[in-house]
């Protein structure tokens, strides 16, 4: 186990290290705010989601399945599915952060995301582990996500008839970029094909957002049980 500290300088180092990522997160937040408005969430609801959930991909999938009445099962599945990787991230951090008090560890984990997890692992590679680094780098990214949401939600209302500009397709386009970014090669083919087939079948049979649930579950199980 490493010596672990949780100090002011670690927090400051984290904020500085996380700052460059705000340039990428802020536009994503704005896009989320705009698309949330199109999906029927008002500014309050979109902001509340960004403040409490703080997960771009999960929130984008939530917009895609959003409807009236609120499809709770699909929303919760979206939250779980797009954040399942955090279970692995957290597991990997355990040996390094185990010296922290539970309050500091579990408080900092709320702010964990792809960027600051990678930053922390990189920083830890040089032997310096400070628990406050995860908190600081996460906090600055969190703030830019929330601010972006408010900006996008505010301005988004100005855009009339978004279909004319193809803006309704922005969400789908983002899913494609996410998919390409996550792609790991041949081992992803079987899960993806299974998910697509299951989603199309269930969508045709049941409609609503059940296709997302069925495809996500069946596809990922194929991934879990593929021969290695």
């Amino acid at each position: 186990m490493h010596q672990i500290s949780f100090i002011w300088s670690g927090l400051r180092t984290g904020v500085v290290a996380g700052a460059p990522f705000t340039a990428g997160v802020l536009p994503y937040g704005i896009a989320f705010g705009v698309l949330a408005g199109q999906a029927g969430l008002d500014l309050q609801a979109a902001t509340a989601m960004s403040v409490t959930v703080f997960s771009g991909s999960a929130q984008f999938v939530a917009l895609q399945v959003w409807s009236d009445p609120i499809p709770l099962a699909a929303l919760l599945f979206a939250a779980f599915a797009m954040n399942a990787r955090y279970v692995l991230y957290g597991a990997m951090l355990r040996p390094h952060l185990a010296g922290l008090s539970p309050a500091r560890a579990y408080g900092s984990l709320f702010f964990m995301n792809d960027a600051n997890w990678a930053l922390l692992v990189k920083q830890g590679g040089s032997g310096r582990w400070d628990g406050a680094f995860l908190f600081g780098s996460g906090l600055i990214i969190y703030l830019s996500w929330v601010i972006g949401t408010v900006l996008g939600g505010g301005f988004g209302r100005i855009i009339a008839a978004p279909e004319t500009f193809g803006l309704d397709f922005l969400l789908i386009a983002f899913f494609v970029t996410l998919l390409v970014g996550l792609w790991r090669g041949r081992r992803d083919v079987a899960p993806l094909v299974t998910a697509v087939a299951a989603a199309l079948a269930v969508d045709w049979l049941a409609g609503g957002s059940w296709g997302v649930l069925a495809g996500g579950l069946l596809g990922s199980l194929v991934g879990a049980f593929r021969p290695r």
Binding site: P27, A45, A48, M49, T52, A58, V61, A62, Q64, L75, L76, F80, A81, N83, A84, R85, Y86, V87, L88, Y89, G90, A91, R94, L97, A98, Y106, F110, F165, G166, L167, F169, I172, A173, F174, F175, V176, T177, L179, V180, G181, L182, R184, D188, P191, L192, A195, V196, A199, D203, G211, V212, G216, G219, S220, L221, V222, G223, A224, R226, R228
Partner: protein, 98 residues
């Protein structure tokens, strides 16, 4: 905000936080098995496929073209906003033409 909406947002927040905390918590007791690890790693890809497939199946030619453009530009450049922007432009032009 309606009670239903508040409940849905709260539940999403709880599930997301549990994802962030669960691995850290569990590793204090038992290590994750390779099977669970492989499952967790496969979930995002499968879910995105399941989100995209019905949306594209219900779309027309402009949407399919937009999908192809997003895929190609993202693969070639690795730039997400550029890929999404090109795709949206193609969809808008396609809809104007058809």
């Amino acid at each position: 905000m309606s009670p239903d909406l508040l409940f849905a947002l709260g539940a999403m927040a709880v599930v997301t936080y549990l994802c962030r905390a669960a691995g850290y918590f569990a590793m204090g007791y038992v290590p994750l098995t390779p099977r669970i690890e492989a499952w967790l790693e496969s979930i995002p890809i499968a879910t995105l496929g399941a989100v995209l497939a019905p949306a594209l199946a219900n779309g027309g030619l402009p949407e399919l073209a937009g999908f192809a453009v997003a895929l190609v530009v993202m693969r070639q450049t690795g730039h997400d906003f550029l890929a999404a922007g090109c795709a949206v432009a193609v969809v808008a032009i396609g809809r104007a033409l058809i």
